[in-house]
């Protein structure tokens, strides 16, 4: 009995293995599989939802196909937890055998899922997270960031605060890799005095203690890097505590985009922030993206949505370039690097570390002609700006 049982089991296993082999070889030839691993629950969920929606809109624009091949998108929630995300990434690259991965919002999650993805020689197209590690010493042929390197938007704010003549800045960021990159980026261009610098846990939503430290520090400018729900809470509490009278609040686009504006409203008027993209940018690709995004989802897109959109456009261009021969990794990499598509942010190109060289803009939150509270682009902070870590990258 025991023998036949194990025999039957091994037979079944062999059959299953054979079937999965069959399935594997069939899929690679006739369709493109994309693993969309993003943050779809918790305070960071808004970011992941926008990346996913932007990606899906681009897919719709290209007729549900990349380079003429039908696309299957497998959506998974990383819960903003590195350990859970790593398991899911393993499943996506090993069982589902996806051709591309994208979607991760938070850099601590990115650093956890990077290794299994790169080891399996799957291309990761980052639509958000750009940890300094992957731009510098740990740069990898399979990692492309279509958005920015983490420091970049913060460098642009640092320069803005410096140029506007502020002398004393109080800084606040979440305690995780991108939070450290953020303040490093800000300090690279702000030369005044840092009177207070605090890192809070990524799960912290009550900033009472930090606000009173800021009040005591006597800063004239406050810089926060608090994405999504964190920023919503901070700005409400900042205004509630009456600090907005004495200090000017600055943030990267992450703390002042449509998701935060929708939740906070009026108190955000007049806040300066920086971005590589804005919904009022005047180019054909962007106009189509913004108009269709509003039609499809009934809200203005955020920079996250623009990044998700561009990630899909990049994949589309690369698959078209290699004529669907997705197994030829060298050719795909070359095609990705060429980035032959019209980005919604205007022209950009990849540096040797496969991160963008692009312009960064200053925006301000105002009421537009229709009376909506939203961002307006004021001008360019950096032209053709590269990240600070490219020198450390020895790309093979």
């Amino acid at each position: 009995m025991k023998v036949s049982c194990s025999k039957a089991l091994s037979l079944t296993l062999t059959a299953a293995a054979a079937l999965s082999l069959l399935a594997g070889s069939a899929q690679a030839a006739d369709k493109i599989k994309v693993g969309m691993l993003s943050t779809l629950s918790g305070p960071g969920a808004g970011l992941g939802v926008d990346i996913r929606d932007g990606f899906n809109l681009a897919l719709k624009h290209s007729g549900g196909k990349f380079g003429g091949l039908p696309v299957e998108v497998i959506v998974a929630d990383d819960q903003a937890k590195p350990d859970a995300a790593k398991q899911t990434a393993d499943r996506l690259v090993k069982r589902d055998k996806v051709d591309f991965m994208t979607g991760v919002v938070f850099s601590n999650v990115m650093l956890a899922v990077g290794k299994p993805i790169f080891d399996s020689k799957t291309f990761y197209i980052s639509a958000n997270a750009g940890p300094s590690q992957y731009a510098g010493a740990e740069c990898n042929p399979y990692f492309f960031n279509v958005a920015w390197q983490n420091d970049n938007l913060h460098e642009a704010v640092g320069k803005t605060v410096q140029d506007k003549g502020f002398k004393k800045a109080a800084l606040l960021a979440p305690n995780y890799p991108a939070g450290k990159d953020a303040l490093a980026g800000f300090k690279r261009y702000f030369k005044g005095q840092i009177v207070s610098e605090a890192y809070t846990p990524l799960s912290q939503l009550d900033y009472g203690a930090e606000l009173s430290k800021m009040r005591a520090s006597g800063a004239d400018a406050v810089y926060i890097f608090l994405p999504g729900g964190l920023g919503v809470n901070f700005i409400k509490q900042f205004v509630g505590a009456g600090l907005s009278k004495d200090m000017t609040l600055f943030g990267p686009g992450f703390s002042a985009d449509e998701d935060v504006i929708r939740a906070v409203g009026e108190p955000m008027l007049g806040m300066f922030n920086t971005s590589q993209w804005a919904h009022d940018m005047d180019n054909a690709a962007n106009k189509r993206f913004v108009a269709d995004f509003q039609k499809e989802y009934g809200r203005l897109p955020t920079l996250y949505a623009s990044q998700g959109y561009d990630a899909a456009r990049l994949m589309d261009a690369a698959v078209r370039d290699v004529k669907g021969k997705i197994e030829d990794k060298d050719a795909v990499r070359k095609a990705l690097k060429a980035a032959k598509f019209d980005s919604v942010r205007g022209a950009f190109k990849f540096n040797t570390n496969q991160h963008p060289i692009q312009d960064y803009y200053l925006r301000v939150i105002t009421k537009d002609a229709q009376g909506r509270i939203t961002n307006r682009t004021l001008g360019t902070v950096f032209k053709n700006h590269a990240d600070a870590y490219v020198g450390e990258c020895k790309m093979p």
Binding site: S41, G42, A45, G46, Y199, G208, A209, A216, A241
Partner: protein
């Protein structure tokens, strides 16, 4: 400037401590009187916050949301006690932990199914959204002051209820010696349901008041439940007075730790290192406090059992 910092921090600590007290009060009564470990207490807090946020969104009034949500949550607590928890009283602690943990997991998933995975927004009423100038040059958020006022009022009501009423006497009798209270003819079944519903209502008040400061989201109950357990262990299980004092201690230590320790580390070793060591040490501080209390007073500061 430092005077204002200390004052503002004390108010923050008081505000957080009072909210912890609302949670801990229900937990300590259930634990003390029914001898029941209720891990689902945090889930009631979460469901209460969701109900308040939903009613607020539907009616457009925070006050209506708060009132309706608290009543609905109390009813839900009573139903939960009558249908499920009642069966767990006679069991050992392991069964109670497993049973209520199952309720915790189920309510998390149920909330995810009903309301979705994204947090709900709950805004303070417009009248309380701005700052109030307490001293010249020092303004404090009106909403936090409101939380402090409600917390103090609820604490006072609870104190009167427990020390001055017949129900309160039965609750105290149950907490200090359950068998004797039973033998003296206290209707324990009805008392338990009432205590449980009261605990649920307090949870909802805390959830609704903290909602605008934090976020109404799945899993919000777990982190605060751990702190509530620390509070009742410090205060002495079953004791309302202990819960109040424990909550004040934990709230104060948490807030002080979050400001003073990073400040101290900042001066000792620079912001980079302080950023890593400061928050870690300040979150340990609460547990150091608990360990110290357990070392010198193993029964907690105000033990209820005679």
């Amino acid at each position: 400037m430092t005077g204002i910092l200390v004052l503002e921090q004390s108010l923050n600590g008081l505000q957080f401590g009072l909210m912890l007290f609302l949670l801990a009060a229900g937990l300590t009564l259930v634990f003390g009187i029914m001898d029941m470990i209720n891990l689902a207490h945090g889930s009631i807090y979460m469901v209460g916050a969701y109900l308040i946020a939903s009613i607020t969104a539907a009616s457009g009034s925070f006050w209506l949301g708060l009132g309706g949500g608290v009543v609905a949550t109390a009813a839900l607590g009573a139903v939960l006690e009558l249908s499920v928890l009642r069966r767990l009283y006679g069991r050992d602690h392991l069964s109670q932990v497993l049973g209520t943990f199952a309720i915790l997991l189920m309510s998390n998933e149920a909330v995810r199914m009903i309301w979705g995975a994204q947090p709900l927004a709950l805004n303070p009423p417009a009248a309380l959204a701005g700052p109030v100038e307490l001293l010249p040059g020092f303004s404090y958020p009106a909403y936090r002051l409101f939380i402090i006022a409600v917390g103090l009022a609820v604490a006072l009501l609870l104190y009167l209820l427990v020390t001055r009423t017949r129900y309160g006497m039965q609750v105290r009798a149950g907490a200090s010696n359950r068998e004797m209270a039973l033998a003296m003819g206290v209707d324990v079944r009805r008392l338990f349901t009432a205590v449980f519903a009261l605990g649920a209502a307090l949870c909802a008040v805390a959830g609704g008041l903290l909602g605008p400061l934090l976020a109404v989201q799945v899993g919000m109950g777990e982190s605060i439940l751990i702190l509530a357990f620390v509070v009742i262990v410090i205060g002495g299980i079953g004791s309302i007075r202990g819960a109040l004092l424990g909550a004040m201690l934990v709230g104060g230590v948490d807030t002080a730790g979050r400001t003073l320790i990073p400040l101290l580390f900042d001066q000792l070793m620079g912001p980079e290192a302080a950023a890593n060591a400061g928050p870690a040490l300040s979150s340990i501080l609460i547990y150091v406090l608990m360990a110290a209390v357990l070392f010198w007073k193993p029964q907690g500061l105000f033990p209820a059992h005679g």
